[in-house]
């Protein structure tokens, strides 16, 4: 009986949380769980050039996750750069600036000197040409 009493509210909470998550992101797909986990653990980080990079030791799994996202990003940047009358590099660089700005504490990003830094609550160190 005791176990039942514990499970019911837990299940209700879980259902409510799922419902909220669905409401918060209607039609948009969220990050792939594998990618989200690699980001959170600091195994991958945001580079200055607008692409993902592997921080520390490379593994086949990390390479797969990173290259999958980077191919999608490159396609996306190419289309949007063309629409904006900019070069791929200009678009990717600008995207990188904003992606680094939007990292959350604990995530990794590339500093202007090329080293990997962990984001804190302080503003990230960004390239002088960032908007």
């Amino acid at each position: 009986m005791k176990q039942m009493d514990f499970r019911k509210p837990a299940l209700a909470l879980l259902a409510a949380a799922t419902g909220l998550a669905v409401l918060a992101t209607p039609a948009l797909a969220a990050r792939d769980p594998e990618y989200a986990a690699a980001r959170k653990s600091g195994q991958v980080g945001e580079k200055m050039d607008g692409y993902l990079g592997i921080v520390g030791a490379e593994t086949a799994d990390l390479r797969r996750v990173v290259s999958k996202i980077n191919i999608l990003r490159r396609d996306n940047y190419t289309t949007r750069a063309q629409a904006q009358g900019a070069t791929l590099e200009e678009y990717a660089f600008t995207q990188g600036c904003i992606l680094i700005l939007r990292t959350v504490p604990g995530e990794k990003y590339q500093a202007p000197n090329g080293s990997w830094l962990t984001r804190t609550s302080a503003p990230p160190q960004r390239h002088v040409q960032c908007p």
Binding site: T25, L28, A29, A30, R31, D32, I69, L72, R73, N76, R80, Q84, A86, T87, E90, Y91, F93, T94, Q95, C97, I98, L99, R102, Q129, C130, P131
Partner: protein, 69 residues
């Protein structure tokens, strides 16, 4: 004849002006030839302008494609 002399007078009247102009130009010749850095700065300014213009579009891009960012 009358027409010709009128024309000559007009040219004569302009002579001091012309000479003054030539003198002024002569004074400008001391300017040094520009060097390379000017070109490099111009390139940076053009890129910078593009980057600032793109800032709003890249923000929208994150909202529109949360799965790849």
């Amino acid at each position: 004849m009358q027409e010709r002399s009128f024309e000559t007078t007009r040219i004569m009247a302009r002579l001091p002006l012309l000479m003054a102009g030539m003198l002024a130009l002569g004074g400008c010749i001391t300017v040094n030839a520009p060097e390379e850095p000017i070109v490099i700065e111009l390139n940076i300014n053009i890129r910078q302008e593009v980057i600032y213009r793109l800032a709003s579009d890249v923000r929208e891009n994150i909202d529109e494609n949360p799965d790849i960012f």
